[in-house]
């Protein structure tokens, strides 16, 4: 065994020891509370073991299943909407903009919106989508409508717009970073070999940026599942999401076991959806690398 390997082995021992406090805190602050939550979900309000809370989810009249499915659906829509915004912007910043100053300025502007806080960012949509909001007033002034469009605000549309606006920078930053580290010579080589800009993007850049894209998708999806502000402030009457239902069970109905059940169901179903999203995204990106989306021609046919 060489001296270097011995040194590495000793180093890994130290690393393991250094990780112990972190692992312990993970156990105490994450694993144990989650186990407690799962145990609580298996009781009724009198503390007796019961599966009634889980059975109540199957009661279609309660509407809880609808709320769960709506939450997951909105989460996926927000990922797609965020991808549509973040991918071109990230590529532009990472590979098109030549000036580091402009690059930094744009990233700073996106970051600055975070300083306003989610409440202000969410409420501001009322000023855009409301009866006397920017869009309705503009359309009225232009004579394109005679009455304000009420459906712009208070519904899934407004809620999804606000959710996307509030979370898409997570996807933008991770995607930007993963695109930034791609060696420009690889893209240049693809272009030299005849790839169009679109083909180079879909067949080279996107597959190489996949880890950042998938990480960003996770970062976008998780806060969407736990959103309370957006559905309450902009969602209207039929856009309730799971986090609001959970909050109401804990703080209004004081039914902690049912609140715990809804939380466990959200965590499990959210994780499964996330895995599916990651799988589909990976497959899609892999497909991009095999079949140039810009040409539609399989690579082996060339």
């Amino acid at each position: 065994m060489s001296a270097g390997l011995v040194k590495n082995a000793r180093g890994s021992g130290w690393i393991t020891a250094a990780a112990l406090p972190w692992l312990a805190s993970l156990l105490v602050f994450f694993a144990l509370p989650l186990a407690g939550l799962a145990a609580l979900s298996l009781t009724d309000q009198s503390g007796q073991v019961s599966l009634a809370n889980y059975a109540s989810l199957a009661d279609l009249a309660s509407g809880r299943l609808d709320v769960l499915l709506r939450t997951l659906r909105i989460g996926v829509i927000v990922i797609i909407a965020s991808l549509c915004i973040a991918l071109p912007v990230a590529y532009y910043l990472a590979k098109v903009v030549q000036s580091p100053r402009i690059e930094s300025l744009i990233l700073l502007l996106v970051s600055a919106t975070f300083l306003a806080g989610p409440l202000v960012r969410t409420v501001s949509w009322r000023g855009i989508l409301g009866v006397h909001g920017l869009i309705n007033e503009s359309l009225l002034q232009l004579g394109l409508i005679s009455e304000p469009i009420l459906s712009l605000l208070y519904g899934e549309l407004a809620m999804t717009l606000a959710l996307t606006y509030n979370v898409f920078p997570f996807l933008l930053f991770t995607t930007y970073l993963s695109m930034k580290v791609i060696d420009d010579r690889i893209i240049a080589a693809a272009r030299d070999l005849g790839a169009s800009p679109a083909a180079a993007f879909f067949r080279v850049v996107l597959p190489l940026a996949a880890p950042g894209v998938v990480t960003g998708a996770v970062l976008v999806f998780v806060p969407t599942l736990s959103a309370v502000l957006e559905p309450e402030i902009l969602g209207g009457t039929s856009s309730r999401l799971m986090a609001t239902a959970i909050r109401d069970q804990f703080f209004h109905a004081h039914n902690w076991p049912l609140g715990a059940t809804l939380t466990v169901v959200l965590i499990v179903s959210g994780t499964i959806t996330l895995m599916l999203v990651a799988l589909v995204t990976s497959l899609a990106l892999r497909a991009c690398s095999h079949y140039g989306l810009s040409t539609g021609v399989p690579s082996h046919a060339k």
Binding site: V131, H132, L150, T237, Q249, A253
Partner: protein, 361 residues
């Protein structure tokens, strides 16, 4: 220096005692004369206990009133149940006090030590939640109603029927409350259900059906009163079920009207209760303080500072005319005639489940 301070303190204490003696003829010091405790603790919300509201009592009685502020009386009740909360009095409302009584944290008040209680508005004589098992536990200090509010211009005239909240004429311009199961109660009032807080299963189902049918007409459910004020101010909503603070929009020249619907309004009061931790001298001081709360001073300051309505006839009589007008307090019957009192639902989980069905639909 220390002696000087002590002398000054003695001087102030003597002056306070003197002031108390000279003021003994006033209504609200009758109870205070029995006070001997140096400090009492009042569980209340911030709006009812601003320093200038409490200072007159301390000035006369020499008793300091410390506060344990809460946003929900349940917070203090939880501490009282655990014991050693150090809270001697508690402001609780008709919408919650049954639970506090059931938790065994309250004790009866000796009304002989609260003579001003006889001067409380007649509408509060037989209201539920002030007496239990034939004994008086609470003295109401503040009241109000929740009702329909509307933007007069857009509504096209006076509204006197809760039916406006279910009228297609206002589709997309209606707002209903999201908390305290209040929308369920409003639905029940509209359907003429006699006891909205103890609805049968069939009655509850009919209310849920009504509210689900109403959903396409509702712009949004408001979560706090600031939310509704914003909706009414911006014109997003023309008619809604609201609380008194919405009327503050009139100061901004917005023509908001308060409806007195034929189905009645939803009335509430907050009363002062003694906790089981008040005994001996402390109990006497608490009763004196309760007497002060329904005397001629506290209710007037409360109206001026916070815009809340007092239950005390003495305080109303002591108010300048413009304040009486501002509070619209000269004719309580206009609000309370046919009112439904806001009680705690007999079965809160069933009410939550019903409201969940509406929200999830």
């Amino acid at each position: 220096m220390l002696n000087m301070r002590l002398n000054r303190r003695k001087l102030i204490r003597s002056a306070s005692m003197g002031a108390m003696v000279t003021a003994v003829g006033r209504h609200w010091t009758r109870g205070a004369s029995a006070a001997a405790a140096g400090e009492i603790v009042w569980g209340t919300n911030e709006a009812y206990a601003r320093p200038d509201m409490l200072a007159p009592f301390t000035k006369v009685s020499g008793t300091q009133v410390k506060t344990e502020l809460f946003s929900d009386p349940a917070e203090v009740v939880t501490k009282l149940k655990a014991g050693g909360a150090g809270v001697h009095m508690l402001v609780d409302g008709c919408y919650h006090v049954n639970l506090s009584y059931a938790d065994g944290v309250l004790q009866p008040i000796d009304v002989a030590n609260v003579p001003n209680a006889a001067k409380v508005l007649d509408e509060f004589k037989d209201v539920e939640g002030l007496s239990f098992d034939g004994k008086v536990y609470g003295v109401p200090i503040v009241w109000g109603t929740n009702s329909m509010v509307y933007r007069a211009k857009e509504a096209g005239g006076e509204l006197t029927d809760i039916g406006a909240l279910f009228d297609k004429q206002f589709a997309g311009r209606i707002s209903m409350p999201n908390g305290l199961f209040e929308s369920l109660i409003v639905g029940a009032m509209y359907l003429g259900i006699k006891k909205p807080f103890v609805m049968t299963k069939d009655e509850m189902n009919s209310v849920v059906d009504l509210l689900i049918k109403q959903k396409p007409l509702v712009r949004t459910y408001w979560n706090d009163i600031g939310d509704l004020k914003n909706l009414m101010a911006t014109g997003e909503v023309v008619v809604g079920w609201g609380w008194q603070p919405v009327m503050e929009l009139r100061k901004q020249d917005i023509d908001i009207r308060w409806a007195h619907p034929k189905q009645g309004e939803l009335a509430w009061y907050d009363a002062n209760y003694l906790t089981k931790e008040a005994d001996g001298d402390v109990k006497a001081s608490c009763e004196a303080f309760t007497n002060y709360l329904v005397g001629d001073t506290y209710g007037r300051i409360l109206g001026e500072d916070a815009g809340y309505r007092t239950t005390s006839k003495l305080a109303i009589a002591a108010m300048p005319e413009d304040l009486q007008k501002k509070l619209d307090i000269n004719n309580p019957a206009a609000f309370l005639k046919g009112a439904t009192w806001f009680l705690n639902p007999a079965d809160p989980p069933a009410y939550q489940a019903a409201w969940d069905r509406v929200l999830n639909a």
